[in-house]
Amino acid sequence: MSVTLARVEPSIAGVGDYIELMKPRVMSLVVFTALVGLVVAPGHVHPVIGFAALLCIAVGAGAAGALNMWYDADIDARMARTAGRPIPRGRVTPGEAAGFGMTLAVFSVVALGLLVNWIAAALLAFTICFYVVIYTIWLKRSTPQNIVIGGAAGALPPIIGWAAATGSIAIEPVVLFLIIFFWTPPHFWALSLYRTEDYIRAGVPMLPVVAGAAETRRQILFYTLLLAPLGATPWFLGYASPLYGMVALAAGAVMIALALRVCAERQGHAASKQMFAFSILYLFLLFAMLLVDRMSGGLGGQLLGHFAV
């Protein structure tokens, strides 16, 4: 028996390639929503502990991104949107990405546990496992419900942030989780409507590929109708100011209007593109308002009350 050892070329991967593996744009959204979970939690968190928690969550999100790129390298190579990622471009080998992702995953979870608390660390570990194993390895290639269920991974950061601050879980961060959870399908399906060819080429069973554009448009409207009132729930539950409530309801109304336009669209993808772009602004607006609310000690509500009188 002879064993042939493959000759591996020395790596040419630069620092930028490894940063790209961590999906910095997704990471920034994760950090932002986790920050809101951390800030709206009751009590005071020392800034250094808060910073350490966010750093660990950011690295954990980066680890999940790298592991996703490792497993999805074959799909990425066939899609225009992802063909320029480090593995399809030949800058980083799949093995390097897997090693990098695993190292960061273990490091971030253990560091979060030791520096902050083990509830937050367990939630971070669950999030990484859910994103990589349940979403990337299992659901993404097997069901059009991939992003609905897989969206749970992207929705967990506010709960991790809250747990980092309090060491427990409560209804407030669960509502934030639900907002992101119900926001994910309209957001991604709007994108997939004008990237359908890409998904067909890659063999990913996204909803427009499997059920057609008309059904996808209906589903977008259905989830947006659930999302709009849910977005204002923090105000209904009393932990956000009326100003937040007004902004959430107004932004929700715009989302519904855009979803209706997507439903009515028969030619071109202008409405889908608008929906995709506005959905990012919608989520950012809601979480930024929660942050402003908390930072200003409910100033928004006080101002609104002042004008009402």
């Binding site: 020395p10 790596s11 040419i12 991967a13 020392h46 250094v48 502990i49 350490a52 520096l115």
Partner: protein, 70 residues
């Protein structure tokens, strides 16, 4: 014994980054630059990690960090 020491020499030669005289892998300029950049990034990340651990230790323990049973 000689065979083992020969194997160890081979192992050392393969794993250390000394220049090879027998026509083995020679890094190109681009590979060298990339490796240097990665090494600097790892050093900076480890330095930042040390600072974070130090800061959290001080915050968590405060002046008690100096107190230890004699």
């Amino acid at each position: 014994m000689k065979a083992i020491s020969g194997t160890m020499d081979e192992f050392t030669r393969q794993t250390m980054s000394e220049p090879r005289l027998d026509g083995g892998i020679k890094l190109t300029e681009q590979q060298l630059r990339a490796r240097r950049a990665r090494s600097i990034a790892i050093a900076l990340a480890l330095g930042a990690f040390v600072i974070v651990i130090f800061a959290v230790t001080i915050v968590r323990l405060g002046s008690a960090v100096l107190t230890r049973p004699m």
